[in-house]
């Protein structure tokens, strides 16, 4: 501030203690995240290594690690993708209702209820799915078998309802709040300028939403969907409780199949030695899939970044 300050002092702006402390803290936080991630990766890889050197006959199933793990991966992916496919349209619908159709007070109330849904612990969803939801689905499964039984997915119907399909639907309910919340936020941020541009061209409300709101919100919706997918891929308790696990089958409405997290959770307590390594290796595969999903999502979001409206 004073006019007499030396030239060097001008070249090097004064470092204030506050800046140094907070700069240091935030840098340290950023690095600690990297450290933790690296630590987890190293743990998974080093513990999983014995599996890859082992005699295929010693692996569960007796045919090597790949044959052991792919049905688990299949179950995980099917359950998560079905959950995502069911949850996303519903979530986008709710988000549009809340942001553009409902009167403000109703919208806030609905948004609050959805947020409450996010606060339900997954064990509770698991118990509800097991006790209440699964039996209710049995008639639907029987109907599917009768009418679409020629498809491999609906070959025979479970009488308990504890199927991969049930688990998928419960997962869909579980990921609904996050997708809804993210979509609602981006829909609300649509610039009035663009909404009015569409209306002034003679768009109906739905056309306005299609021309201005949805394209603007698309990257956000994809982001929210991927967050949901990430949660569904890793979800353990609900699936472990609901699903009556078994070997691989195309049939989704009878017992059978399982997911990586459920397999790990159900077997980890008694596992030791090579079996433990197997489970950890399965965890490593899941880690890889989740990573790929997130990178893929980022790529989709960035691909049309120059059309995103962020500029």
């Amino acid at each position: 501030m004073t006019a007499t300050s030396a030239p060097e002092a001008q070249a090097r702006p004064k470092r204030r203690p506050g800046d140094i402390v907070f700069g240091g803290l935030s840098t340290a936080s950023a690095f600690s995240i990297l450290l933790i991630l690296a630590g987890v990766a190293i743990f998974l890889i080093s513990e999983a290594v014995p599996v890859f050197g082992a005699d295929p006959a010693e692996i569960t199933g007796g045919e090597g690690f790949l044959s052991y793990v792919w049905p688990l991966v299949f179950g995980t992916l099917v359950a998560s993708l079905v959950a995502m496919a069911v949850a996303t349209p519903v979530a986008v619908g709710i988000a549009l209702f809340v942001s553009h159709y409902a009167p403000t007070r109703v919208g806030t109330a609905v948004g609050f209820v959805i947020d409450l849904l996010a606060a339900v612990p997954s064990v509770v969803f698991g118990m509800w799915g097991f006790q209440v939801f699964a039996p209710k689905l049995v008639p639907l499964f029987i109907w599917l078998q009768e009418h679409l039984g020629f498809l491999p997915f609906f070959e025979s119907a479970s009488r308990t309802g504890r199927t991969l399909f049930t688990a998928s639907l419960v997962l869909a309910v579980m990921i609904l709040p996050i997708i809804t919340a993210v979509s609602r936020e981006v829909f609300l941020q649509t610039p009035t300028l663009h909404e009015e541009a569409a209306l002034a061209l003679g768009a109906t409300k739905w056309e306005m939403i299609r021309t201005a709101v949805l394209p603007f919100g698309k990257p956000g919706v994809i982001g929210g969907t991927m967050l949901g997918l990430g949660r569904a891929l890793g979800e353990t308790m609900a699936v472990a409780i609901i699903l009556s696990p078994g070997v691989f089958t195309w049939n989704l409405i009878d017992s059978g199949n399982t997911t990586v997290p459920a397999e790990i959770a159900l077997n980890f307590p008694e596992a030791a030695g090579l079996r433990l390594s197997e489970l950890i290796a399965a965890g490593l595969v899941l880690f890889g899939i989740t990573l790929a999903v997130n990178l893929g999502a980022r790529a989709i979001v960035n691909r049309r970044a120059e059309f995103s409206g962020a500029n």
Partner: protein, 259 residues
Amino acid sequence: MSKRIDVKNLDIFYGAFHAVKSVSMTIEPRSVTAFIGPSGCGKSTVLRTLNRMHEVIPGAYVTGEVLMDEKNLYAKDTDPVDVRRQVGMVFQRPNPFPTMSIRENVLAGVRLNSSKLSKSASDELVEQSLQGANLWSEVKDRLDRPGSGLSGGQQQRLCIARAIAVQPEVILMDEPCSALDPISTLAIEDLINELKSEYTVVIVTHNMQQAARVSDRTGFFNLEATGMPGELVEMDETAKIFSNPSKPATEDYISGRFG
């Protein structure tokens, strides 16, 4: 392709706030009408009632009549969507759809209104509309680039192209040059001059030279005091308003002896 607008005893409200008081005026077809007046007197508000965009704001409503070739835009059986298809609008800030290319922006309105356009028909419409907005030569090689990548002045002309692509009867412009540099402003003013051979044009402007340059008729809006509703003080031939207005308030405003 262009229509006369008769406004009769129009009162405009934002909820409980009475924004504009009993406006009556006639807007001639194939001419440019300018609205001038101090900030907050309700020029934008009146303009937005001419295509029923006013009621988009929650709680906003009007009483009175706006007749377009004898048909009341505020009649019970008039669909605001139809009104807006006939009365296009260009906003103060250029607002091309950011998720669309230049080409898609031009076609946005047509896509809403009509059944499928053939590729050649839409190519033709894109060229014709961009020509009409004096933008064709600048963008013809990058029609698939995002509209938001253009300069502000080009974006505004893109918005004009988008508005004329649906072949409206009337074009409303709310301070279309206020975010632009003098050269872009000149380009838009030239364009407005050309547009009036086909359309009824209404423009809001704070720039009195601009009103004098582009308009045939000018309406002066004013408010007696803040919090009071705005009103139309007088409307006349532009030359008369700027040389020999009949109301002293107009005289004060245009000679800068205002407030």
